[in-house]
Symmetry: C2
Subunit: 340 residues, 2 copies
Amino acid sequence: MRATIRDVAKAAGVSAATVSRALNRPDLVDPETLERVRKAMEEMSYQPSAIARGLSARRSDTLGLIVPGITDFFFNELYKGIDRASQQYGMKVLLYDSEHSRERAFEGFSILSGYQVSGIIFTSKLVTEDYDPILQRVNIPVVLTLTQSAAKTPLTAFRIDEVRAMFDVVAYLVSRGHRQIAMIAGKLWDDRTGELRLEGYREGLRHFGIEYCEARVEFGQYRFDDGYQAMQRLLERIRDVPFTAVCTASDEMALGAIRCLNDHGYRVPDDISVMGFDDLPIARMVTPRLTTVAQPFHEIGEEAVKWLIRAASQPPSPSEIGDYLLPHRLVERESVRSIS
Amino acid sequence: MRATIRDVAKAAGVSAATVSRALNRPDLVDPETLERVRKAMEEMSYQPSAIARGLSARRSDTLGLIVPGITDFFFNELYKGIDRASQQYGMKVLLYDSEHSRERAFEGFSILSGYQVSGIIFTSKLVTEDYDPILQRVNIPVVLTLTQSAAKTPLTAFRIDEVRAMFDVVAYLVSRGHRQIAMIAGKLWDDRTGELRLEGYREGLRHFGIEYCEARVEFGQYRFDDGYQAMQRLLERIRDVPFTAVCTASDEMALGAIRCLNDHGYRVPDDISVMGFDDLPIARMVTPRLTTVAQPFHEIGEEAVKWLIRAASQPPSPSEIGDYLLPHRLVERESVRSIS
DNA sequence: TTGTAGGCGTTATCAC
DNA sequence: GTGATAACGCCTACAA
């Protein structure tokens, strides 16, 4: 049996209350007593029960994280930031994988709230109005990362300016001499990000006086195979609608696209240039290294945690709630070439 | 304020105990009562407090997972299996990243035990004797994955037969006509896996009557850059100790090695063949696709969870404790070619 | 089958 | 500065 607070109290010749204070408000206890208590804790290798503490104090030093799928490559990067920040505040993280299901996501909120988490980070999926009831019910701070809200409940989100990011991609490609630019966009039923990036693409074209051509756009669900297949469709009509560069909505799709191009005898970037999106660790591990736009995953994770912790101690004012756009960055590597 | 068990009880006109039973032992309660209770729970959208339950029942439907680093590519795959199985048993997962530090790992055990987790999955790092005290102290089942124990406390582990796996790699390369086989082995201060794979390499060579040559072996810490640098060192002496194939201790190092080869004007596999290890998702996304040995990450994760759950309900007999070796599989793709 | 009562390990509010 | 004492929300004998 593990030692409890009472065991420590007895050993130190004080009451449980004092041990508790020694733990949480050491300034309120006599230095000598404190010393005794600490020694006792040390000797019994006392580890306070987070569970009991949570029950009593109605908070649990735990954050909940809801991700759509653990195998999404960006997860590790986002988590890195979350972990770094939460550790700094002595918080633990409870992970919940919604497996791309809305019901599972709802359930995630419920379950996590059952664990008295002091906040929930929700990732990547669009929050629609059907989340409102559950959002209302779990009465704890929620923050969004890599996505945004279309629900009634005001929610703050940390993400990049998707439109602007893809605009920058187009601008970059144009600056490298490309005018015939295809796109492999992202599309998921509960995803607004894909649309935003597409919008950025269109804005970019418009800005540079390039006509938007539907036949140059294909969609995929962000994964490798989707990128491959989308490229295949693009390739089928390359005679009629040629392109010298392709921008994609994810690094993974970019890899798929490149593979498809290779399989059809095209070299990247010599024949066709490809741009990724995300700047995941793999982007620099492949040949050609991916030219891509970097999302500040770590920072987003950190900011989300900080926001949550702030929100837990002091309800945020309406003006503090909203979308926080963090800066993205274009990373030049090898998958795009300049054409005359 | 969230509804408590008492609120539900009142609404259903029963006692809290009955609600509790309705939740945990529905077979013990009258069907009609059960119905009433369930309706009440539904209406109040009652979510039992996992915290309180854990305190009272001294278990928490939570598993702890200690990983050395969240950014290790295999993590997602392992977690996938863990999540799948734990979900099946209604367990949640508390994640702890030890950041490759032994102290943090110790702390992980402590903290997780403070959360009353019903078991801990420890990953990837060698468990040495200095873990014994903490292992003894946290009095909960611990299971190892992708590693093994060198501690006194008997521990069960799920992993593959590393020696055999690397032996198979060598056998495969030999069957493809290779005799001059270099290796980029893994080395970490708290890692035995690297040694085992190296051993498999040596056994393989011996078995096929190939002389082991130290100059053909380099070491790295499993990451991309390590693979790159190791290959660079190998290349520096390729005149004196030539090789036609390289096997590596991780897919990531294989990618680094390939990149290094490319940078030095070698083509893979035309000039030199490269083998990975792990079969991570990226292995099939790069060009050339990696020929590699697949670790059954999902199964390992699942088995670990099942073992933990079994152990929680019934202390395992000494004979059940030990190393469980799951089958690996050689995946043939494009990074190795046959030579005459 | 159901209810009562005590306890799980803390924290928080009082007195002292 | 310290010590009782009452929660916190649930589970589990035990009794009815």
